[in-house]
């Protein structure tokens, strides 16, 4: 955007966070090296600068961590709920106190704008711990009968798109219900989980209750397959989710999967247009579109297609892409070179298949991984970009004529995680929402999260719910 009113750089200070040159695995309350001594580097996606060297967990480390969690389980699960709640409240408070530090760290390691880590990720992380802390001594009243029992050791594998938030979604309900945890963060974003390990120590959490194993897919696979794990929780791609389901099939492990999505954002002709435009932008460009519940398919009623697209393009032209630490940045970096390659390939495929590509004029930084906000018009259900999850800042615009057609197209996907409905007519919201096969349906908003609200998918978007009272069930023997 060129304007007389050019915003001067307003970077958040990096000095608030002290990233050590190397980090170990967090097992049994101690930071340790990997058994085979392996390490990997984590880089800042916006600059490709190496941030730190991190111990890489292997099978032996997974075994060690599961054993530690097993040892801690008896005492931890025997604590009265009100005692476990104290730890969780303490963790929540420490997260709030250290939220600026954690926001800067997350932005450095993930590439997402500080505006998001500061205003969305961190407040939600703390809110999740507060929320589940409140449940810890009230499990008798959660609807699962008296004195519901925990499962044991939970093996949790989380993605790189919301590193600390996904950790909170996994760890908070697990601890509140009395389970112990071995968690593997994604290989591109291990740092905030390691800072969380430090917070556990700061909160005086008993050794072994939380174990953090940075590593690659092999460590995740070993964790999922470990015979002494009682519960597997995974958030990530549908392909890996299917593999995990095969691994745990025939065992007594309880499984929840939160996988991919191809969310439909449906805009009717009586929508509040200006707010719908904001919702579309938030739906697909929040976190550079690297969101499993992103509104990546815009279904717009034909009668307002041109008008809406004009407004949308004008709005995209005001998005500010660049230094994620700058407080005025709207669009940050793509998380990794690998993800950038995938987005690039799918966008090129969209063009090759005849969809019309548009991006606002926007200068990309020369180092780091960047992709300009992109929208495709003239997209049909047959296009790859209308079917495959892109997991990037790419919006496919399709049209519909009637509410029935909107519902049919929205449901015509193997996924079923999220959907949005934009109309000023309340009865239409209810009628359409009833017919959509998606776990989360937003009306006149998008990408709104709250710890009290269950989140999860239909079909190949996974099963089980995280958040709310429903989120307790996955960690209870009920």
């Amino acid at each position: 955007m060129t304007s007389a009113f050019e915003y001067a750089p307003a970077p958040e200070s990096r000095s608030i966070v002290d990233v050590a040159p190397s980090y170990g695995l967090f097992v049994d309350g101690e930071f340790t090296e990997a058994a085979d001594g392996k390490v990997f580097k984590t880089v800042s996606p916006s600059t490709e600068e190496v941030l730190s060297e991190v111990a890489q967990a292997g099978e032996a480390d997974v075994d060690r961590a599961v054993q530690a969690a097993r040892r801690a389980f008896a005492k931890w699960s025997a604590l009265p709920g009100s005692e476990r709640a104290k730890y969780l409240f303490r963790i929540a408070r420490i997260i709030q106190e250290r939220s600026r530090e954690l926001a800067v760290l997350e932005t450095l390691d993930n590439g997402k704008p500080i505006r998001e880590t500061r205003d969305a990720d961190l407040p939600l992380v703390a809110a999740h711990f507060f929320y589940y802390a409140g449940w810890a001594d009230k499990l008798d009243h959660a609807g699962f009968g008296p004195n519901p029992k925990p499962l044991g050791v939970a093996g949790q594998v989380i993605p790189w798109n919301f590193p600390l938030l996904m950790l909170a979604w996994k760890i908070a309900p697990a601890l509140a219900t009395g389970n112990t945890v071995v968690l593997k963060p994604a290989e591109t974003t291990p740092l905030s989980a390691l800072f969380f390990a430090d917070i556990c120590r700061q909160a005086g959490l008993p050794r072994g209750v939380v174990n953090i194993l940075p590593g690659y897919g092999d460590a995740g696979a070993a964790l999922v397959a470990h015979p002494d794990v009682n519960k597997v929780a995974f958030t990530g791609s549908t392909a890996v989710g299917k593999e995990i389901a095969r691994t745990v099939a025939g065992t007594r492990k309880k499984l929840t999967l939160e996988l991919g999505g191809k969310g439909a954002n449906i805009v009717f002709d009586d929508a509040p247009i200006d707010q719908a435009v904001e919702g579309i932008v938030n739906g697909i460009f929040f976190n550079q579109g690297q969101v499993c519940c992103a509104g990546s398919r815009l279904l717009v009623q034909e009668s307002i297609h041109d008008e809406l697209l004009d407004s949308l393009k004008r709005r995209l032209s005001t998005l500010r892409l660049g230094d994620p630490l700058d407080k005025n940045t709207d669009i940050g970096a793509i998380n990794s070179a690998e993800q950038l390659a995938r987005i690039t390939a799918l966008a090129d495929r969209g063009e090759a298949e005849g969809a019309e590509r548009w991006s606002p004029a926007c200068e990309l930084p020369t180092s780091g991984y960047w992709f300009a906000p992109t929208l495709f018009t003239n997209v049909t259900q047959a296009h790859t970009i209308a079917r495959d999850e892109i997991f990037g800042p790419v919006l496919s615009v399709l049209t519909f004529r009637t509410p029935d057609e909107a519902v049919a197209k929205a449901n015509n996907t193997p996924y079923g995680l999220s959907a949005g409905i934009w109309t000023e007519k309340g009865s239409r919201i209810l009628a359409v929402a009833n017919k959509l096969r998606a776990g989360v349906i937003w009306s006149n908003t998008f990408n709104k999260f709250d710890p009290t609200s269950p989140f999860g998918g239909y079909k190949e978007s996974g099963f089980g719910r995280e958040g709310g009272r429903h989120g307790l069930e996955a960690y209870l023997d009920v």
Binding site: S3, F5, A271, P272, Q275, E278, D310, K327, E424, N444
Partner: protein, 319 residues
């Protein structure tokens, strides 16, 4: 420009009768209150520093309609205000002048004399401000009186009673009549008293109604009720002027008034302008702040940027 835009001709048909006008205004897209306020709040997190801040502060000073609208106003008070408008900071002559002084009609002549030759405009509230509860003839006489005394701008209030009763054509006709009374010399600002219209849908309808009737500016409020300018209602009005220009080619200004007291607030409003209507509105011909205490805070911030020290309220003039 929207490719589906009705022509200006088509818009002239909407005022043919009360029912066509009603259909048009009620056919405007609705406003989702939660979404609107969230967008305003999100733009409020922009961080405006150093050179951008210096630009914004000078721009904001140049957009102030320095206002005194008290029963206790005297020629002396108005002269002091006028002097302040011309030289906001007596210690720094590089400070821009404010856009205008805004007074009651009987003070226009005094104000005019005080700011003569400076480029500062004289705005006058009229039409039985602030309630607007008077016969049309009285309102028009009020306007003509102010214009005759030399007012460059007239800030009128709409008949909120008629608007809320759904008598849109009456409101429209009144604005048209006032515009005519302004003649060619005075620009017309139309005040909706958004706090009394109460819903965002009403504010969007009133904005279009005012623009269709020939408003040069649309203005949030009188400053005399509990809720005056807010980021959300100003954002909504900025969307309205942006859309109106896209459809008709006619540019209309926006003036939030009342409740904007700090530089930080003013800068947030300028961010709204910049990212909603765009830079064409970043000029005091198209955007104003109706305010009195705001100016001193802008001046203190300006001094701080220039000297690196925050001097305090004794280093700006009390008027």
């Amino acid at each position: 420009m929207p490719t589906t835009a009705p022509t200006a001709q088509a818009l002239s048909d909407v005022t043919a009768s009360d029912s066509t006008l009603r259909r048009f205004l009620h056919g405007l897209p609705g406003v989702d209150a939660v979404g609107l306020e969230a967008r305003a709040a999100s733009l409020g997190t922009r961080s405006i520093k150093t050179t951008a801040k210096a630009y914004a502060i000078d721009l904001a000073i140049s957009m102030v309609d320095l206002t005194t609208l008290e029963g206790a106003d005297t020629p002396g008070k108005v002269r002091a205000l006028g002097a302040k408008a011309v030289h906001p900071d007596p210690t720094d002559r590089t400070t821009p002048t404010t856009a205008a002084v805004c007074v009651y009609p009987d003070m226009v002549a005094v104000a005019k004399e005080t700011v003569a030759g400076s480029g500062v405009k004289v705005a006058s509230v009229a039409t039985a401000f602030p309630a607007g509860r008077a016969a049309l003839g009285v309102k028009l006489a009020d306007v003509r009186d102010a214009v005759a005394a030399g007012a460059d701008e007239i800030d009128m209030v709409i008949d909120r009673g008629a608007f809320l009763a759904g008598r849109y054509l009456k409101v429209y006709d009144e604005i048209v009549a006032v515009k005519e009374a302004c003649g060619t010399s005075a620009r017309l600002k139309v005040i909706f008293e958004t706090g009394e219209l109460s819903t965002y849908d009403n504010i969007r309808r009133a904005s279009w109604l005012g623009m269709l009737a020939g408003a040069d500016f649309i203005k949030t409020s009188t400053g005399k009720v509990a809720v005056n300018a807010t980021p959300a209602n100003t954002l909504l009005m900025l969307e309205a002027v942006r859309d109106f220009r896209a459809q008709t080619g006619v540019q209309v200004g926006v003036k939030p008034a009342g409740g904007i007291r700090t530089s930080k607030d003013a800068i947030k409003f300028l961010v709204l302008v910049n990212e909603t209507a765009g830079e064409d509105w970043l000029d005091n011909h198209w955007f104003r702040f109706g305010a009195s205490s705001l100016l001193n805070d802008l001046l203190m911030q300006r001094q701080k940027l220039a000297t690196g020290r925050y001097s305090g309220p004794d280093y700006v003039t009390v008027d």
